[in-house]
Structure formats: structure tokens, C-alpha cells
């Protein structure tokens, strides 16, 4: 296949040329969301010859997606969006290296994914993910090409570009009530137009031409063909460190368990129950594989405990034990659960079920 011929119409643009085409071929772009925006962005990045494209989307295609997610065919309903989008790109331009990542973007995978790409495109449809993308872009030091829609209006901007303002500089408050397309309704062309603006920013950044929408938000109204640009400043308070990112997104969840489900683990040597109440609290609970370490002494006595052992922690009613679980998890204990309802719930069950 003759690559020169494929890209001829853009190579003859003086702003692009062979040199620009090489820049495109060397670029790696990660598109998060293969929905309405993604369906406009992906084919244009691929056809222009962006060297490597990653697609993150854990959803499957639904028939109600087809009016705007125009890269999918009717018989693909039920299939993975990321995988179908990959097939579309490979058919369109086999020179592009494509990776389908059929996972939900989370605090766990965001950074490792972002490090592999030069530009991150936010083609998602929910506010919480936009903050996650923004924060991960800050930590990984990548630009974020933002787009979103409300009915017949759309917004486009580029955040964290050459140390420029971020999404949090524009919207510091995380108001998660903002409506998405499923709730608000949308016409396919509106998302298509905004996605196309995003693809345009991506190509401009790679090629180093024009003026990138950094520190500006473009608002487009498709009903009146009106477009406005608004300038905004970088806020000093909106940075995030790797530690703060981990703390915000990867805080281990505290698992709670009902005592009745672990009753048969009583007196098993490989299991440990820790009573973290003070010595003078009652009702007293004691069985063979149970020890008492008051919460205030737990950190001091942590060396006594095995980090890989299955440990159930309880207190009087199940509140303090969660603090203990958090503390143990911080010390990299792996199998810690809090007993819901604490000693009060346990005592009741112990007296009715078995007489100890």
C-alpha cells in the first residue's frame, strides 16, 4: 500500500507536508469513550494516519446508541464498543496500530494507560470520569482534549497543555448531577460536530499548527450556529500529586461481613478474630482464635500480626472496627474485614446458635 498516496491530500497542505505526516505517524493518542464523541473522533484520527490509537470503553453497543454512534452497524448490537471500534479503524486504515481496552477507566488503570500515550482525549459522558481523566493527566503530565454536550450545545477545550489550565481551573466543584445524553437527549450531529472539534485539536497539537484551545473554552450552539470562546486562567490550587491521586481514587474499600457468614470460622486456627474494644467493655466475647487488642494499642502491636492471614475485626457495634480495618490496610494487611454490628450482633448470634 502506498502511504504517500493515501495521505496525499493533506501532505500537499504547506502546513503539513511529509514532515507533518511523520509527526502524525509517530503520535500516540488515547481516546476514552467510544460513544457519540468517540465515533466522530476515531475515524478521523485513523484516516489522517495517527500512528497509534488506544480506545478505552467497557460498554457494549446498544440499539439506542446507533443514532449517534455511527461507526457501529446494527448487527454489532451486544458487542464490545472498544473491540468494534478497533475493527472499524483497522478496516479504514491498516497502517494504524490500534489497541482496544475494554475496561472501565478507574484510578487503578488510568495512570499506567496514560503513560503510554502523548495525548488523552476525553470522549466520555459523565462528570466523575472527567475529573478522573483530568487528575490522571495532571499526574502523568499529558494534555486532555475535552468535549461534552448538552442537548444542542457543546463545549470543547484542551486542558493541561504545556502547563496550561485544567478542567478543575474551569470547574473546581465536582457537581455530579450534570445531565448526560441518555438523560438529556441529543441529536447525532451535535455530538459529531463536537467530536470533530476535538479531533481537530488533536491533529493541531500533533502537527504544531494553529492555536490550541488551551485556557479557552469553546461553546458551540448547533441550533443558531453560534460559537463563542471564553478565556479562563490557571488556578494555583488545582494541582494534584501522585500521592493525592492514589489517596483520592485508590483508597482501599473497607469490607464488612455479617457474623453469621463467618460463624463456621470460629475456632479455626488459620483465621484470627480481633476484638479491638477496651478491656472493660462488655459483653465479653471469647473463643479459641480470638484475641483482644484495644484500638489505641493496635498500631503498636501490629508486628504480632500476620499480614497475609484472614482477620476479622470487631468492636462494640461495628464503627471503630472500620477504623481498625483502615489502619491495618494502610500497613498492607491483605485480608481484613470488619464484622457488621460488632460484639452486640455477635453475642446475640452466639447465644442463639451455639452455646459457648
Amino acid at each position: 500500500m502506498n502511504a504517500d498516496n493515501r495521505y496525499n491530500r493533506q501532505i500537499i497542505l504547506p502546513e503539513i507536508g511529509e514532515n507533518g505526516q511523520q509527526k502524525l505517524a509517530a503520535a500516540k493518542v488515547l481516546v476514552i469513550g467510544a460513544g457519540g464523541l468517540g465515533a466522530a473522533i476515531l475515524p478521523y484520527l485513523a484516516s489522517a494516519g495517527v500512528g497509534e490509537i488506544g480506545i478505552v470503553d467497557h460498554d457494549v453497543i446498544e440499539v439506542s446508541n446507533l443514532q449517534r454512534q455511527v461507526i457501529y452497524k446494527t448487527d454489532a448490537v451486544g458487542k464490545s464498543k472498544a473491540k468494534e471500534a478497533k475493527v472499524m479503524i483497522s478496516d479504514l486504515n491498516p497502517l494504524v496500530k490500534v489497541k482496544a481496552i475494554a475496561e472501565k477507566l478507574s484510578g487503578k488503570n488510568a495512570l499506567s494507560l496514560f503513560y503510554n500515550y502523548d495525548i488523552i482525549v476525553d470522549a466520555t459522558d459523565n462528570i466523575a470520569i472527567k475529573y478522573l481523566i483530568n487528575d490522571a493527566c495532571l499526574v502523568a503530565n499529558k494534555p486532555m482534549v475535552y468535549g461534552s454536550i448538552f442537548r444542542f450545545q457543546g463545549q470543547v477545550s484542551v486542558f493541561n497543555y504545556q502547563d496550561g489550565p485544567t478542567y478543575r481551573c474551569l470547574y473546581p466543584e465536582e457537581n455530579l448531577d450534570t445531565l448526560n445524553c441518555e438523560e438529556a437527549g441529543v441529536l447525532g450531529v451535535s455530538v459529531g460536530i463536537i467530536g470533530m472539534f476535538q479531533a481537530n485539536e488533536v491533529l493541531k497539537m500533533i502537527l504544531g499548527i494553529g492555536e490550541v484551545l488551551s485556557g479557552k473554552i469553546l461553546v458551540y450552539d448547533t441550533l443558531h450556529n453560534e460559537q463563542q470562546k471564553y478565556d479562563f486562567d490557571k488556578s494555583d490550587f488545582q494541582t494534584i500529586s501522585r500521592e493525592a491521586f492514589e489517596e483520592k481514587y485508590n483508597k482501599a474499600e473497607i469490607e464488612e461481613v455479617n457474623f453469621e457468614f463467618v460463624l463456621d470460622e470460629i475456632n479455626k486456627d488459620e483465621i484470627l478474630f480481633i476484638d479491638i474494644r477496651n478491656i472493660d467493655e462488655s459483653p465479653k466475647i471469647s473463643f479459641k482464635n480470638q484475641i483482644q487488642i484495644p484500638l489505641m494499642n493496635l498500631e503498636k502491636e501490629i508486628e504480632r500480626l500476620d499480614k497475609n492471614q484472614v482477620i476479622y475485626v470487631f468492636c462494640q457495634s461495628g464503627i471503630r472496627s472500620k477504623i481498625a480495618v483502615e489502619l491495618l490496610q494502610k500497613h498492607r494487611f491483605k485480608n481484613i474485614k470488619s464484622i457488621a454490628g460488632g460484639a452486640l450482633a455477635m453475642k446475640q448470634l452466639l447465644t442463639t446458635e451455639i452455646n459457648l
Binding site: 462528570i127 448538552f150 450545545q153 474551569l170 457537581n175 448531577d177 441529543v186 471564553y230 486562567d233
Partner: protein
């Protein structure tokens, strides 16, 4: 006359995309926002405010000039 533009969920509340307001005396941006909030009950709606295409703090000390264009810009989430 001061023109106020509304976007997204804010325009849903105001039921119009823009309006022109005249004031008999000088009015600050804060006072304008307070009046609009009383009129439309924006309540928990998140939005930024721009004056003449520049996003500013809602609490900034600014006296509006005739011919200023104010815009209320909520975040969008669809995609």
C-alpha cells in the same frame, strides 16, 4: 443595557437563551448574580460566569458597564 447569556442547564431554568437588562444605577456583578438567583432559583446548579468572554470569579469586585455581556456557563456532561 447589560446582556446576559444563558447556556445548558442554566438556560433550562431561565427558559430563555439571553436577556437584556437595564439598571437605573450602577450595578456590581455580585448584585446582578444575586438578582438572577432570586429570579430563577439556580440553587445547586454549578456554573461559571464570564464577562465579555473572560471567565471571572463570581465574587470578583466588578461594576458592570453598559454594553457588557455576561454569560453563565454550566458544565456539560453528554458525549
Amino acid at each position: 443595557m447589560i446582556e446576559v447569556k444563558y447556556f445548558g442547564a442554566v438556560a433550562e431554568k431561565t427558559k430563555c437563551e439571553f436577556e437584556k437588562l437595564s439598571f437605573s444605577e450602577e450595578v456590581s456583578l455580585q448584585k446582578l448574580l444575586q438578582d438572577l438567583n432570586e429570579k430563577y432559583a439556580f440553587e445547586s446548579l454549578t456554573f461559571r460566569v464570564a464577562v465579555n468572554q473572560k471567565i471571572v470569579s463570581k465574587t470578583s469586585d466588578y461594576t458592570l458597564q453598559t454594553s457588557d455581556i455576561v454569560a453563565l456557563l454550566p458544565p456539560f456532561a453528554g458525549g
